[in-house]
């Protein structure tokens, strides 16, 4: 069964933790974009959702920091940062059989860690909450945080391998990347947003031209999109999974109170 949907959305903890802090003219387009994404996800009728989410110290520390880690459990829980995001902690169903199959497929192309116990933080739980999905989830956690994250082009390779593996699986699978876009998360610069970078990135992402970002220098990425800009890795993986298909922008809104250029998008897998 071919991939039935490829989506990406920002996951700012403020969306649920401080929903009324931004002016409504800023928050409304983001929530409307999420509502649009929810309709599209439901229309795609997936049996399972692969969520590609950045690490934010919920699972890994500087003793071991994998570039990519896929969950092989049948149950997870989250959010770990419940006071921060104001979502009650709850169990989330996993899908160990497909997780294992994906791990085998991804390992053909990228160096992958596996885990039978991953904690979900806002990166997974804010989107699940806003989308109201109750599907089995397979998490793929991507280091966008510390040390030496995988180069951007390897994240694309992960997406390509994900697609190849999903296409051999009998169930209906959708993928959702969460994170970004530009932000200086919880830093003194919080509220600064690289709108110029965000718009250029979205143009490439939606236009099937993610290849133009795969060798983007780290220094430049951080200067233009902040340390949080490293989270475009999750979007790049989604583009890879969609065969670099074109897509639709469901929302883009800089929201300083949520510290992020908030974007929601859907790609047409090809």
């Amino acid at each position: 069964m071919s991939l039935v949907g490829a989506f990406a959305a920002s996951h700012a903890p403020g969306m649920t933790g401080r929903p009324t802090q931004p002016p409504p003219e800023q928050s409304r387009p983001v929530f409307d974009g999420y509502a649009d994404l929810k309709r599209r996800l439901e229309a795609a009728r997936p049996d399972v959702l692969v969520v590609v989410s950045p690490e934010h110290w919920a699972n890994f520390f500087l003793d071991h920091m994998p570039s990519f880690c896929i969950g092989l459990a049948d149950e997870y829980s989250g959010p770990t940062d419940e006071e921060f995001v104001r979502i009650p902690r709850r169990p989330v169903r996993g899908h160990a059989r497909l997780g294992r199959e994906l791990a085998l497929g991804l390992a053909e192309d990228v160096d992958l860690s596996t885990s039978q116990e991953l904690a979900f933080d806002h990166g997974v739980m804010v989107p699940l909450h806003l989308l109201g999905v109750d599907l089995p989830v397979i998490p793929i956690i991507v280091n966008c945080l510390a040390g030496i994250p995988a180069p951007l082009h390897r994240c694309h390779a992960l997406g390509v391998a994900l697609r190849r593996t999903v296409d051999r699986w009998p169930e209906r699978v959708a993928v959702l990347g969460t994170g970004g876009l530009s932000h200086w998360p919880a830093m003194a610069e919080s509220g600064r947003i690289g709108t110029h970078f965000d718009r250029r990135f979205l143009e490439a992402f939606l236009g099937g031209r993610i290849d133009t970002f795969l060798r983007y220098p780290s220094e430049r990425l951080e200067a233009e999109a902040g340390p949080g800009g490293h989270e475009i890795r999750t979007w790049i993986a989604v583009a890879g999974s969609a065969g670099d298909g074109c897509g639709s922008l469901l929302a883009y809104q800089p929201v300083p109170a949520w510290s992020t250029g908030c974007a929601v998008a859907a790609l047409e897998p090809r």
Binding site: W57, T80, A186, S190, S218
Partner: protein, 98 residues
């Protein structure tokens, strides 16, 4: 310019390992968090901290912790746990007194 590696403020370093490990465990493990709330002194004694780090953790001094380079995503969830609203947290790390 290279295409890999975290740069800037959070570039790969070897300092701050113990203090960041302590905060990581407080954020992640409800039991450690409970000890942080009720028995902070004994918890902190289990980590090899500098005197400056020890004092900053005991006092939950976000301005000092941020200033020494502790990762902001270790600080923000802890601030929420301690009941510090996000705008207040930002004011604190920026050194704005209210």
């Amino acid at each position: 310019m290279t295409t890999v590696g975290i740069r800037g403020r959070f570039a790969l370093g070897v300092s701050l390992y113990q203090v960041q490990k302590l905060l990581f465990q407080v954020n992640r493990d409800p039991q450690v968090r409970g000890r942080f709330m009720t028995d902070r002194q004994a918890l902190v004694a289990e980590y090899a901290l500098t005197e400056q780090e020890r004092r900053a953790v005991l006092e939950a001094d976000f301005h000092a912790l941020y200033g020494m380079g502790v990762h902001s995503l270790l600080l923000a969830p802890l601030a929420a746990t301690l009941g510090l609203a996000f705008p207040e947290y930002l004011a604190t790390i920026r050194g704005v007194t209210r």
